[in-house]
């Protein structure tokens, strides 16, 4: 075959030619709140990954002289700067070690419920009516069943391991993503660009993943970050009932509930792990907010143009 594309127009270099990582970093730096949120989340992640390796001994060693030690006593060793718990274990290291279980349970539950819920929601929204009905009634059943009761039953029958906890929490949160994904899909599928893709002959998976999912995704990621906090607290409730994480394993939620009897005398027992939960959730929210702008081509300029106004 002769080369028919001899006189091709020269292809101009687009913005992709610039380093995309640097561009993302610059957009992150332009939203200072999101930037610090990311920094905080990285610290939490480092604690979760390496904390138990280096600090496990420190976090579990009892020191009866440090029982309910007040915070900000800088004459003590650094682990005690946030105070000590009822058995005299340093709170700071305990929080760092507990990050692993907490993040694993919360992230695992949110991740699985989001993946399963979104897939089912897209299927229910885009394919046949019968399938949609079956999926939606399934979701109704899960929603109608008290989630705590479900967890209690499942965890009594199975072991109360971290992995089982993740599964139970994931199941109870599936309907949230399912219903949102389906509702948005029903709206987006009627939009013209979906029809245009159909006219071009695009397959169903392509329409769902290339055209519908990117439009639905920002909503779901926002719900996921909010759910993160919910799952953390649900996990602590289960731990409190004695069917979640069991001591000597620790999570932030468990630390909050362990500190509850001492609230009037030693507030810091519950306060610091509670603060960790709040800051993590808030950071996730800020990052998801940033991501929504960064992922939307029509909104991205808000992050790119900062600081250029005077130029």
């Amino acid at each position: 075959m002769a080369n028919t594309h001899n006189n091709e127009p020269s292809v101009p270099a687009g913005p992709e030619a610039r380093n995309p990582y640097m561009q993302t970093l610059r957009m992150l730096w332009n939203d200072k709140l999101a930037f610090f949120a990311v920094v905080f989340l990285i610290i939490v992640l480092v604690c979760a990954l390496f904390g138990p390796y280096f600090l496990d001994d420190l976090a579990t060693k009892q020191n009866l002289r440090g029982r309910n030690a007040p915070p900000f006593d800088f004459s003590k060793d650094w682990p005690f700067w946030l105070g000590g718990d009822a058995l005299g274990r340093p709170l700071l290291t305990r929080i760092m070690v507990a990050a692993q279980n907490t993040i694993f349970v919360a992230a695992g539950a949110v991740f699985f419920s989001m993946i399963i819920g979104t897939s089912l929601g897209l299927i229910a929204g885009y394919t046949s009516k019968t399938l949609s009905q079956v999926i939606m009634r399934l979701a109704d059943v899960i929603m109608a069943f008290p989630s705590l009761l479900l967890a209690v039953i499942v965890l009594f029958m199975l072991d109360s391991s971290v992995f089982n906890l993740v599964i139970v929490l994931a199941i109870t949160r599936i309907p949230v993503y399912l219903r949102t994904a389906r509702a948005e899909t029903l709206e987006v599928r009627e939009r013209m660009f979906v029809q245009a893709a159909k006219v071009m002959g695009a397959s169903t998976p392509r329409i769902i993943f290339r055209h519908i999912l990117p439009v639905v995704f920002p909503t779901l990621i926002t719900i996921a970050t909010l759910d993160f906090a919910f799952v953390m607290l649900a996990e602590s409730a289960l731990s409190f009932l004695g069917i979640g994480i069991q001591p000597p394993e620790i999570t932030w939620g468990l630390m909050v509930s362990q500190g509850r009897p001492y609230l009037t005398t030693a507030w810091w027992l519950s306060f610091w792990p509670g603060l960790a939960i709040i800051l993590t959730t808030m950071s996730l929210n800020l990052v998801s907010n940033w991501m929504r702008s960064a992922l939307d081509p029509a909104q991205r300029w808000r992050l790119e143009n900062v600081g250029k106004k005077n130029g």
Binding site: H5, P12, G14, R191, A196, P214
Partner: protein
């Protein structure tokens, strides 16, 4: 003081956006007398609505800011009035009707309640609001006003809703009625009725009518004087006749030259060619409702066939059925020897390459999250056999240049383009598959007149170069007159009449076609005045 009813003097409005300040309106002055109709004519983004919004205090401030000027209503500057005084003016002395009556009527209240609300808000007609409301609805020509007063907005047609909006605006007998594109969303025959109603009411009450429009036909039909606006400035003022027959400013000249329906009509192609698409006996039922009833038509290679009709005539359903976006109830559509209606998914996939569609609203038909390159190259991703991957970029460049855009536009996203440019992108996407037939569903209806002309010229150029056939669905008859080889007129799912464009426009056989052509407005005020006189005589004869 001078005796103008309403006068806008040197008005400038800025909008402060994060991209810098936009001067929406610059140093604009015009005035309106009692019993007079003033039309503000301009394309989208010309600032024609901004000065009217300023009168009614509808500009959001910030980001908007009135930087200079005054608006005198009976000699008093409304911009210096207190908010309470302005509220008394709005609705009471100055009424307004909008383009889309459905989005301006609250769906959860009955129309009677909503009209009465205007009266209650200003404390008028206590105790007799209901009687007044019914009287108003009768006045604007709504049938069965006594029973319909308790109906909800969704139970009315578009034309009826606009009548209700007019009744609402007239509830307190305002001195000025501002109509912002009052007939743009309506069919031509309904448009003619609404304009006639507005004129009648004006003669009855002696109010001043301020008409904001982009349509020269509307101007010719009702306006006494015209103000032509372009990018925030007034470029020309004068009586409707003066401006049409003797435009001074180059922009006005360009605008008038772009009006469709004046050029040469295309001659019919030879009948001996084998049709590319043969539709026969096509029907589509939604439950009991018959959307398409036994429709048969042919499209020849290289031919443009226009399908015209009012909303609800089934013209869009026809397009969707041919493209298999909807399943037909019965009938055949033979394309290249294969029946589109009954073919299986595998054959359909192959045929998709040959039949493409350009949609009405390019804002919605392009995925906002994909770059232009992704939008156009999707065709190659789906149909792998068109082109090797290494040639994709070059082909996208070529296509963009073919539709009059630049190659480096491929890295941008749809929101960075104007409406006309977006429609060009949509056409480039359709061309990527190298189709033989393109279905244009109201492809230029959402665009400004001058842009319409450009896009139509592009479509014609592509037809000459590539031998494309078009199935061109439109409600705008003048557009069709310039573009199509043959015209098919549809009404409530049936074909009323079809034939070569000259026959349809010069010698229509059916009553419905004649009405449709008569109802579309000529941009020439003189011709329009003659037509009106003629129709009045005719009405006098029949009455």
């Amino acid at each position: 003081m001078d005796n103008h009813l309403l006068e806008v003097k040197n008005l400038s409005v800025d909008f402060h956006t994060s991209f810098g300040t936009v001067h929406a309106v610059r140093d604009v002055s015009w005035h309106l007398e009692r019993g007079e109709t003033l039309a503000i004519l301009g394309e989208s983004g010309s600032g024609k609505s901004v000065s009217a919004s300023a009168i009614l205090n509808l500009i959001d401030m910030p980001p908007g800011e009135i930087t200079s000027g005054e608006i005198l209503f009976e000699g008093r500057d409304v911009l210096k009035m207190s908010p309470e005084e302005r509220r008394q003016l709005n609705g009471c002395r100055i009424g307004m009707i909008f383009q889309d009556p459905l989005s301006h009527l609250n769906p959860v209240y009955s129309i009677g309640f909503q009209i009465a609300e205007t009266m209650k808000a200003h404390g008028r007609y206590k105790g007799e609001t209901r009687a007044k409301t019914i009287e108003l609805l009768k006045r604007v020509g709504l049938p069965d006003a006594e029973t319909k007063v308790d109906a909800y907005p969704h139970q009315f047609s578009g034309g009826q809703r606009q009548r209700i909006m007019i009744a609402m605006a007239l509830a307190l007998k305002p001195d000025i009625l501002i109509a912002d594109e009052p007939t743009t969303a309506l069919d031509v025959t309904v448009q003619a009725q609404i304009l006639a109603l507005l004129e009648e009411l004006q003669q009855e009450t002696g109010m001043g009518l301020l008409l904001i429009t982009h349509d020269l036909g509307v101007v010719a039909e009702v306006a006494d004087r015209v103000v032509v606006m372009n990018s925030g400035e007034i470029v020309e003022t004068g009586t409707a006749r003066e401006v049409y027959h003797n435009p001074h400013h180059p922009y006005t000249k360009k605008l008038i030259a772009a009006i469709p329906g004046e050029g040469e009509m295309a001659t019919q192609l030879g009948k001996t060619i084998k049709p590319i698409l043969e539709i026969s006996g096509l029907s589509k039922h939604y439950g009991r409702f018959v959307a398409l009833d036994d429709v048969s038509l042919n499209v020849l290679p290289g031919e443009s066939v226009a399908i015209v009709g009012e909303s609800g005539s089934g013209k869009s359903t026809l397009a969707k059925t041919v493209l298999r976006l909807e399943e037909a109830t019965s009938g055949k559509a033979i394309f290249n020897g294969q029946d589109l209606v009954s073919m299986d998914a595998k054959d359909l996939f192959k045929v998709r390459r040959d039949i493409q569609m350009v949609f009405q609203d390019p804002t919605q038909s392009l995925n906002p999250r994909m770059s232009i390159y992704d939008v156009i190259s999707e065709a190659f991703v789906i149909h792998r056999d068109i082109l090797e991957k290494r040639h994709w970029k070059a082909r996208v460049c070529e296509l963009l240049e073919q539709v009059g855009l630049q190659a480096d536009h491929m890295y941008r996203h749809p929101h960075q383009f104007s409406g006309g440019q977006r429609q060009r992108i949509a056409i480039a996407r359709a061309l990527a598959l190298e189709p033989k037939l393109i279905v244009c569903d109201e492809a230029v209806s959402a665009l400004d007149v001058s842009i319409q002309a450009q896009v139509l010229a592009l479509l014609k150029k592509l037809q000459d170069e590539l031998g494309l056939s078009y199935l061109f669905i439109a409600h705008d008859l003048p557009l069709v007159r310039d573009f199509a080889h043959r015209v098919v007129v549809m009404q409530s799912g049936k074909i009323v009449e079809q034939g070569p464009v000259e026959q349809i426009f010069d010698a229509p056989r059916e009553e419905y076609t004649r009405n449709l052509i008569a109802a579309s407005l000529s941009p020439d005020p003189v011709i329009q005045a003659e037509r009106r006189a003629a129709s009045k005589i005719q009405q006098g004869v029949t009455a």
